[in-house]
């Protein structure tokens, strides 16, 4: 099947992606409903891989199910749960099932999840995983043994956006060097910071998709400041959420302001609301994206 998401990324068009979390169980009804709500308003669904180290259904399996319903999917692949053998066989299997987009990340440590005594694998890091995927796309496995047919993925990676963090920026650079086709960022609340990141990122000519998480309450903002690495929600925003009569609406307003500031300088947004996508369409309309 022809990939519109890939066309858009390659041609420099603006893309909208949204996060879908697989079920903790075998019933995919809710996840499918969640995905179907986004039909026609996003370019691809980005499916998490045991997000926050909480055990859930394989994103490849859910990816196949959503793909069969006509959704374009991006399957996340972390380094936490699989060694180099498992990563490669999973990637080959995913491609054979029709999954063409992968987003690579290190993965939250098992200590943050619901299987704290699990072995944290990290046989490869995200940079090494990217370079292994390149190798596979060029027709061989990690050790140079030929593949009888090679996958053709579009491969994304994630990045921190603080240009003041020298090592994070170095890692960003390594990801581009190892062939990341696009970069997805953490949630953006500070367009100025994002702008300075884009100044740094521009020379690498990589499509950047900015993360958006609408705030639901002042409490959530404070919680994120304290618990989500790399997120700094300014006091002014927290104040606004506090004063708002309808905090959910205010959260949308804030997201829309961020989107309108960053839209001209990046190549997409990635929506990661807490919970279902019930209001994602409304948010996109408010932000001026027509269906």
């Amino acid at each position: 099947m022809h990939s519109l998401f890939q066309d858009k990324i390659r041609s420099g068009s603006f893309v909208i992606t949204a996060e879908i979390t697989p079920p903790k169980g075998t019933d995919t009804t809710k996840a499918v409903e969640n995905a179907d709500m986004l039909r026609g308003c996003v370019d691809a669904l980005n499916i998490t891989d045991n997000n926050r180290a909480v055990m859930r259904m394989s994103p490849v399996a859910l990816g196949k199910i959503l793909k069969d319903r006509g959704h374009e999917v991006i399957v996340q692949m972390t380094c936490r749960d699989r060694n180099r053998l498992a990563l490669q066989s999973e990637l080959l299997g995913a491609y054979a099932l029709g999954i063409e987009n992968i987003c690579v990340m290190t993965g939250d440590h098992v200590k943050s999840g619901d299987h704290q005594g699990a072995k944290a694998v990290y046989d490869l890091d995200s940079v090494q995983l990217l370079s292994m995927i390149r190798k596979m796309m060029n027709g061989s496995d990690l050790y140079g043994n030929p593949l009888d047919s090679a996958p053709e993925f579009m491969v994304g990676a994630v990045s921190n956006i603080d240009p003041g963090q020298a090592m994070q920026m170095l890692k960003f650079k390594k990801k581009i060097l190892e062939g990341a086709d696009f970069i997805q960022t953490q949630a953006i609340y500070d367009p100025d910071l994002f702008e300075s990141f884009m100044e740094y990122a521009r020379e690498f000519k990589v499509p950047v998709i900015a993360g958006i998480i609408p705030l639901k309450s002042a409490g959530m903002a404070r919680f994120m400041n304290e618990n989500v690495p790399g997120i700094h929600i300014g006091e002014d925003l927290i104040e606004r959420m506090e004063q708002a009569r309808d905090p959910v609406h205010e959260g949308f307003e804030i997201s829309c302001e961020v989107i309108s500031r960053i839209r001209p300088i990046c190549q997409g947004i990635h929506l990661m609301p807490i919970g279902q996508h019930l209001n994602t369409q409304r948010l996109l309309e408010m932000a001026g994206f027509s269906k």
């Binding site: 440590h109 990690l142 790399g230």
Partner: protein
């Protein structure tokens, strides 16, 4: 130095539940320095076991539990060991394992072995090396990310690093922050620019 800690006493009693006559072997190297297998700890263990109804018939403190010369050499100092029906090793897993090789008496350990570390100015430094068999520490200013980063990353920090602290423990510095500062001071940041290949696990 091998870092090990005491198991909970209840667990030790459970391990020894089928045995009455116990001989204790400590270790005068790592375990002793860490106060989990020296003379003082052996004596405390002895009285604890005796209070629990065990017969502790003797004890020994070899220079290093992991490099004993022979059973004869060990038994020479205290013949009562021959009469024991269980040996309790207060040392790391390596010590317990070497002692198990030289005797048919059942060997138990009172310690949980956690890492290869060190002590500096009295502070215990865990996880200094993971014995990966392919040392890359020289590239990272003498700070090993394989051992000290909980994700064993070789190409820079994960996204979980916040304000220089580790995702898994906000009281711990992210090892990449430490490597960065050290190499910057040494004017060798070029070392982290390099892309490191996957580790060949031994």
């Amino acid at each position: 130095m091998i870092i090990s800690q005491d198991k909970p006493f209840e667990e030790i009693l459970e391990l020894l539940q089928d045995h009455r006559t116990i001989f204790i072997i400590g270790c005068n190297t790592c375990a002793s320095k860490l106060h989990v297998g020296g003379e003082e700890e052996i004596l405390t263990m002895r009285s604890g076991l005796e209070d629990a109804g065990k017969d502790v018939i003797g004890w020994a403190l070899p220079t290093a539990a992991c490099s004993i010369r022979s059973w004869e050499h060990l038994a020479e100092k205290d013949r009562s060991i021959e009469k024991a029906d269980a040996v309790l090793v207060m040392a790391c897993g390596s010590g317990a394992s070497v002692i198990s090789r030289v005797t048919d008496i059942q060997v138990y350990t009172s310690n949980n072995t956690t890492s290869l570390g060190g002590i500096f100015k009295g502070e215990i430094l865990p996880d200094q090396c993971k014995m990966c068999g392919n040392c890359t520490i020289s590239y990272f200013g003498g700070i090993c990310p394989t051992a000290q980063c909980p994700k064993n990353l070789l190409n820079g920090p994960c996204g979980g690093c916040a304000d220089g602290k580790c995702e898994t423990d906000p009281d711990k510095d992210c090892v990449w922050e430490m490597i960065y500062l050290k190499l910057k001071e040494m004017n060798r940041l070029d070392l982290v620019e390099k892309i490191y290949l996957p580790r060949e696990n031994k």
